[in-house]
């Protein structure tokens, strides 16, 4: 099997170098949005004197870590021209399953974590397997998983929350190490691992290759099916991570948790420059996209903007941000 892969690798190299133009636009994408994020931060700092404080900035990153982690998985999926609508429901399923094993003095901490991560991974692998083997559109398969996972979460708990969690489990979402909240640390670690996966490994090359031209990748010898299963499995795993953090943060497993998180995650990826047409996207961009959403949510709350206006403004800002970005790309 290893010899097969190395042959593929050689064929890949010529293909990847020809897409260096894409790489340039990817970098532009990233910095364009960074500029918008900085502009938003400056604007909010002027409007609200309490916005630009260490406490509040940590607050924003911590709040966005759950959606941000999901968005990283979704980004990789979108790069392969796929989509994952099941993240929010998987979070709920993971939430109630992990919480059920996280009561004080029952199981060691590793058990709820393993169950949560395992379940997330499983849902992702099921998504990926059906998408690649049965050739059903990702939109449909993950829509099915979105419904089924939510149903399973409700079934397990009879629609009720699961409380009474151990202190060690609560530490994941509520604790801090050296003044940095644990969710932010996990967010950072997930971001770093995903960055390396996408930029420094064969896996990453193949992901971009599949997104750029699936047919060509297949002809070049990439086992497209297997990599798709990896990609959806990884997205599922990250939903599992997010589900565990969320559960720990709110001290309860909630079958109704995570509603619409998949859309926030997709929005973060797209704001961050990921192209829904596939082949383009970067972890850094997605993290910036998530932070833009976080800064907006936080800033509008600080300014006590009416909830009705908040929704309108968020919609406008998301659309305008992506519009500016696409204009800039066209010019370059």
């Amino acid at each position: 099997m290893s010899s097969q892969v190395s042959v593929v690798d050689k064929r890949e190299k010529s293909k990847v170098s020809s897409s260096s133009k894409e790489k340039v636009s990817r970098i532009l994408n990233r910095y364009g949005m960074l500029f918008i994020l900085i502009a938003l931060i400056i604007l909010m700092s002027i409007l609200s004197p309490t916005f630009f404080t260490t406490g509040n900035l940590l607050n924003i990153v911590r709040q966005m870590s759950v959606v941000g982690i999901v968005a990283i998985g979704v980004t990789i999926v979108i790069i392969t021209t796929g989509i994952d609508l099941s993240s929010g429901s998987v979070i709920a399923l993971v939430s109630v399953a992990a919480a059920s094993f996280a009561h004080p003095d029952t199981y060691p901490l590793i058990v709820p974590i393993a169950i949560g991560l395992g379940l997330g991974l499983l849902t992702g692998v099921i998504n990926g397997t059906i998408i690649s083997k049965a050739k059903i559109a990702p939109f449909i398969v993950t829509l099915g998983m979105m419904t089924a996972a939510r149903g399973a979460a409700l079934l397990i708990t009879d629609g009720r929350p699961v409380g009474n969690l151990s202190d060690s489990f609560k530490f994941i979402g509520q604790g801090s190490v050296l003044g940095i909240p644990v969710p932010i640390i996990i967010f950072g670690v997930v971001g770093l691992i995903s960055y390396i996966l996408l930029n420094k490994t064969k896996f990453g090359k193949y992901v971009y290759a599949i997104g750029g031209n699936e047919q060509a990748a297949m002809i070049a010898g990439v086992n497209v099916d297997r990599y798709k299963i990896f990609v959806y499995g990884y997205a599922g795993l990250l939903s599992g991570v997010a589900g565990i953090i969320l559960t720990s943060r709110i001290s309860s497993g909630q079958p109704t948790a995570g509603v619409m998180y998949e859309l926030d995650a997709i929005a973060a990826a797209v704001i961050g420059g990921t192209s829904l047409a596939g082949g383009i996207g970067a972890i850094g961009g997605t993290i910036i996209g998530a932070l833009i959403i976080g800064v907006m949510n936080n800033g509008l709350d600080l300014l006590n903007v009416s909830p009705y206006w908040q929704q309108i403004l968020k919609g406008v800002i998301i659309t305008v941000a992506v519009f500016i970005d696409s204009r800039k790309n066209r010019k370059s």
């Binding site: 509520q174 309860s252 109704t256 948790a257 006590n304």
Partner: protein, 327 residues
């Protein structure tokens, strides 16, 4: 190899369909009930159209109906879930009419589409009892059973005003904007605040009934640096989120937090003194009352048009009584 792959795919499909069937179990059950009932004319069949089986509070309402159903002889209730889809609910109500149920209990998905459903039932001469969600024109239905949302807001805020000695800065945490309960509960809050010249609303936002979002909103409010004396929330889940954020910041001692619903979780927070006020909307009572009136109407007995199930204020003093109710 190929056989193996097919086998794996087959197993996955099998698992999925198993999950699907178990998920739809309740619906199948209900359709079986109807078919078994068509033979026995002496049984009273009630169709219960509920908006969302997944909703916690509504599941308690359904429990109330189920308990009352068990205590009755010759009554069978068919439960259907509209999954928060008004058009789905309309077709479910139409199906009930087609099945010639003896009466319908309707908890509307939204109050805009409800009049249409009531009209359909009226045209077919099937008694229809609207439960929990009130709207203008609800008197066209055979009867209404519920609690007045605004009263919950009034009751909650009155208690908070008492705790604050009639003065202070109030932050209002709204549910999903546009929901009847959100509009009325907040309206009730504001009516009381207006009566106290030393009280004012300093912050208002929405956390969409959700604990995690309530926590986020409270964290952001705390960052705003505004002085907050009380957080008045449209429901308990958001109030619990606010409590967690306040605890994190070490400020729970200075802030009165109030919720509505008296969910089992919330009662634990009342018991420990973290949640100062909640309001009990009697879910089981409404479910039971709705079914009771529907059965009466099915038998052709006279029923009251409006049947109010009162709200009850829950504080640390009487919390034990309510904890027992959920057990």
């Amino acid at each position: 190899m190929k056989v193996q792959k097919r086998l794996i795919l087959f197993i996955i499909l099998l698992l999925l369909s198993a999950a699907f069937i178990s998920g739809c179990g309740e619906k199948q059950e209900s359709s079986q009930q109807t078919s078994s009932q068509s033979g026995e004319k002496d049984k009273i069949v009630i169709g219960a159209a509920l908006p969302d089986f997944d909703d916690k509070w509504l599941s308690y309402l359904q429990d109330g109906m189920k308990e009352y159903e068990k205590a009755q002889k010759d009554v069978e209730v068919i439960y259907v879930d509209a999954m928060n889809d008004a058009s789905k609910q309309l077709s479910q109500v139409e199906n009930f009419i087609q099945q010639k149920v003896d009466a319908i209990v309707l908890v509307p998905v939204d109050t805009v589409s409800a009049p249409e459903m009531v009209n359909k039932a009226n045209e077919a001469n099937v008694p229809i009892v609207v439960v929990n969600r009130q709207y203008e024109g609800v008197e066209n239905a055979t009867a209404y059973v519920g609690s007045e949302s605004i009263k919950a807001g009034l009751m909650q805020m009155e208690e908070v005003a008492k705790l604050l000695n009639g003065k202070g800065n109030i932050a209002i945490m709204n549910g999903q904007m546009g929901h009847e309960a959100q509009i009325k509960r907040t309206e009730g809050n504001k009516q009381i605040i207006e009566k106290h010249p030393d009280m004012k609303v300093v912050l208002e936002g929405t956390a969409e009934w959700d604990r995690a979002k309530g926590m986020t909103l409270m964290e952001n409010w705390l960052q705003s640096g505004k002085k907050i004396d009380a957080v008045v929330s449209n429901n308990d889940e958001m109030a619990i989120g606010a409590i967690m954020a306040l605890e994190d910041a070490g400020k729970l001692e200075d802030v009165v937090v109030a919720g509505i619903d008296a969910t089992p979780d919330a009662l634990e927070y009342v018991k420990s003194g973290k949640l100062k006020v909640t309001v009990f909307q009697n879910a089981k009572g409404q479910g039971q009352g709705g079914l009771e009136i529907a059965i009466k109407a099915a038998k052709g007995e006279n029923v009251e048009k409006f049947n109010w199930i009162p709200y009850e204020l829950v504080t640390k003093d009487n919390v034990e009584e309510y904890i027992k109710k959920w057990q």
